[in-house]
């Protein structure tokens, strides 16, 4: 296992990219720690698969270097990089048995037979595939097949990282949970570096130590699930993570006040006046009903009862606003809301603005 350094990586599929739009992946500079689990999260076409392929060596980036530990692997082909990958659809060698599948990468690397047997047995044990070790791989279910493709990575001791490309897409919903938690356990026990591509925020948040959120070919934020939730660095992160997503309202910001549609909103901190388009973002969880001073009138569109809480979908003026409300309290006919001042973030041109010290 080793640390992965993405040294000013950028990639364009065009021979001579000119504008920003020519890049499928805009410049990324990241150091990913050894033994951590990273999730690349973003909608389809955001460049996450391109980034994954750059790490696995299927694509050579047009700019920048990829470094595993201390070794520059930018120009090395996939097979020389010592990585393992689990694909969207289970890739297994279906004429082989489960055990032969697992032994395959070791055989290709001319590992002694005794060593192969030992490691295959270990891996089968690890993945709980014992009962079907001698069976042909093609008769197995999708989740078992995915375990085999994972196993082909785990069986090698020298793997730098294991890459997952939306590995749960074809798995039945109830097996998804099980497989994901098994994966998580394996990661805790064996501590390999994991890079996990997904467009499912729950998968990313429950799985990874650090989530890398991507949007339109750009990495917009890297952080722990809590950071992404509390301090989204980009309004997109706010939208994309959380259900419902963060409320974003155009506002004029001055000092510790923001003005939204003629109503003043208290901010927890002090901000310099901002040029350009400014917005405030507040999560529905930090919106509560209150008709005291500084509250905003909200027109209610619908109320959804989730069970543990209710979601109020409404609007302030033309701007949509959602609130997560506790059960049991009646919603008045013309409700007013206030925001938790400490939880209101300020954005300029979609990027988070830091408060003045």
């Amino acid at each position: 296992m080793s640390r992965i350094t993405l040294d000013h990586i950028a990639h364009s599929y065009l021979p001579s990219p000119k504008t920003e739009a020519d890049f499928a992946l805009k410049e990324v500079h990241q150091v990913w720690e050894d033994g951590s689990a990273y999730a690349l999260l973003g909608p389809s076409g955001c460049g996450k698969t391109t980034l994954l392929n750059i790490i696995s060596g299927l694509i050579t980036p047009s700019h920048g270097r990829v470094v595993f530990g201390e070794r520059d692997v930018t120009l090395l082909p996939t097979e020389a990089r010592n990585i393992a990958q689990v694909f969207q659809f289970p890739v297994i060698y279906d004429t082989m048995t489960v055990a032969e599948n697992l032994a395959f990468p070791l055989k290709n690397r001319k590992v002694p037979q005794a060593e192969i047997d030992r490691r295959v047995a270990e891996t089968i044990e690890m993945l709980g595939l014992g009962p079907m070790a001698r069976r042909k791989a093609r008769g197995l279910t999708a989740d078992q097949k995915q375990k085999i493709s994972l196993g082909r990575g785990l069986v090698r001791s020298d793997v730098n990282a294991i890459l997952f490309d939306e590995p749960l897409t074809v798995i039945d919903p109830h097996m998804k949970w099980q497989l994901r938690s098994q994966l998580k356990q394996l990661h805790r026990r064996y501590g390999f570096t994991m890079v996990y591509v997904t467009h499912d925020q729950t998968e990313a948040l429950t799985f990874a130590d650090k989530v890398v959120v991507m949007y339109a070919g750009e990495v917009v934020q890297v952080g722990t699930p809590a950071e992404l939730f509390e301090r989204p660095k980009h309004t997109f992160v706010g939208y994309f993570i959380g259900s419902p997503g963060m409320n974003v309202l155009p506002a004029e910001v001055a000092g510790d006040r923001a003005v939204v549609g003629g109503h003043a909103v208290a901010l927890g901190q002090h901000y310099r006046p901002q040029p350009g388009r400014t917005e405030i973002g507040v999560r529905p969880e930090f919106v509560r009903l209150d008709d005291g001073a500084g509250s905003l009138p909200i027109s209610v569109r619908s109320v959804e009862d989730i069970g543990r809480y209710r979601i109020l979908r409404g609007a302030i003026g033309p701007h949509e606003l959602n609130a997560v409300l506790p059960e049991g309290r009646a919603i008045p006919a013309s409700p007013r809301v206030v925001f938790d001042p400490a939880r209101v973030n300020v954005y300029r041109d979609a990027h988070l603005v830091e408060a003045e010290a």
Partner: protein
């Protein structure tokens, strides 16, 4: 796919059934009738019992033709299947090369069979043919009309020319259906080119290869027109395959009885082979699911 029981589906099959019955069952019954009788023309038939069968089964002419046909099919399969796989593997997968390859390679398949024969007859002639001229020029004593070995070689090369593309196209269809992820995974697992072929490409081509072997075997087993045009079954009877012999007996000599008996034996062999093949493929298919 789960199918529902519905005996009314018979009505949808009925037109096919009637048409094929008209084209296949009536002629087959006629053949059976002929095979036990003797005729001197004018639709006058005399009971002959199993005489013709005995005659055909004990005739060395029939044995030789059968052996030649089997040998021909075996050689054809041994050459065309590996060659077809090799060409399919080396064909481009994208770009302008794909339609060019596909169109040019399918060309021989669409040429009427006697024209195929004519092409090779002309091509192989030592006086006006390019191949014959070249081989003679190289000092090889080549003459498909006189030398049995040359006749066989010409017919085999002709069949390779004519039909290998079918195998290529089938294998190619199997190959392009393999998702890219398989090749990526193989790279990551450090698989050699041979392993990729053995464990990814070959299993994925399995089904189309079965079709290819079936079609090539059956079609080579009943080959008639092409070798007939090139060699007329000669020199001597060196290239007289079963169907050539059959047509000679039936149409040339108008020996209805022996021809009919031969037809039935021929058909029985075909039936047995198709059944074995059909069973093997469907069983393999069920095993997979």
């Amino acid at each position: 796919m789960e199918k529902t029981w519905n005996n009314k589906a018979w009505f949808m099959v009925l037109p096919v059934l009637l048409l094929v019955a008209f084209s296949a069952v009536i002629p087959l019954m006629t053949v059976v009738n002929y095979s036990v009788q003797d005729t001197f023309g004018n639709n006058e038939f005399f009971w002959a019992g199993t005489e013709w069968f005995e005659e055909v089964l004990s005739s060395s002419r029939f044995h030789d033709a059968l052996l030649r046909t089997i040998a021909f099919s075996a050689i054809i399969l041994a050459i065309e299947i590996p060659l077809g796989i090799l060409i399919a593997l080396t064909m481009p997968r994208k770009g302008w090369g794909v339609p060019v390859c596909l169109v040019l390679m399918s060309l021989p398949l669409l040429i009427p069979w006697n024209v195929v024969g004519t092409i090779w007859q002309l091509f192989g002639r030592t006086d006006i043919g390019l191949l014959g001229r070249m081989l003679t020029g190289l000092g090889i004593d080549y003459n498909y009309g006189r030398n049995p070995f040359d006749a066989w070689a010409t017919i085999i090369v002709m069949d390779v020319w004519h039909w290998t593309s079918l195998v290529v196209l089938l294998c190619y269809a199997g190959l392009v259906s393999i998702p890219e992820a398989y090749y990526q995974a193989a790279k990551i697992d450090g698989a050699s080119r041979w392993s990729v072929f053995r464990f990814i490409e070959l299993p994925k081509m399995n089904r189309v290869l079965q079709i290819a072997i079936l079609l090539r075997f059956m079609d080579s087993f009943m080959i008639y027109t092409e070798p007939f045009v090139v060699t007329g079954g000669g020199p001597g009877s060196a290239t007289t395959f079963l169907s050539i012999d059959l047509v000679k007996t039936a149409v040339g000599q108008f020996d209805l009885g022996p021809a009919a008996a031969m037809s039935i034996i021929y058909f029985m062999i075909i039936l047995l082979l198709s059944w074995v093949f059909f069973t093997v493929t469907t069983q393999a298919g069920e095993d997979r699911s």
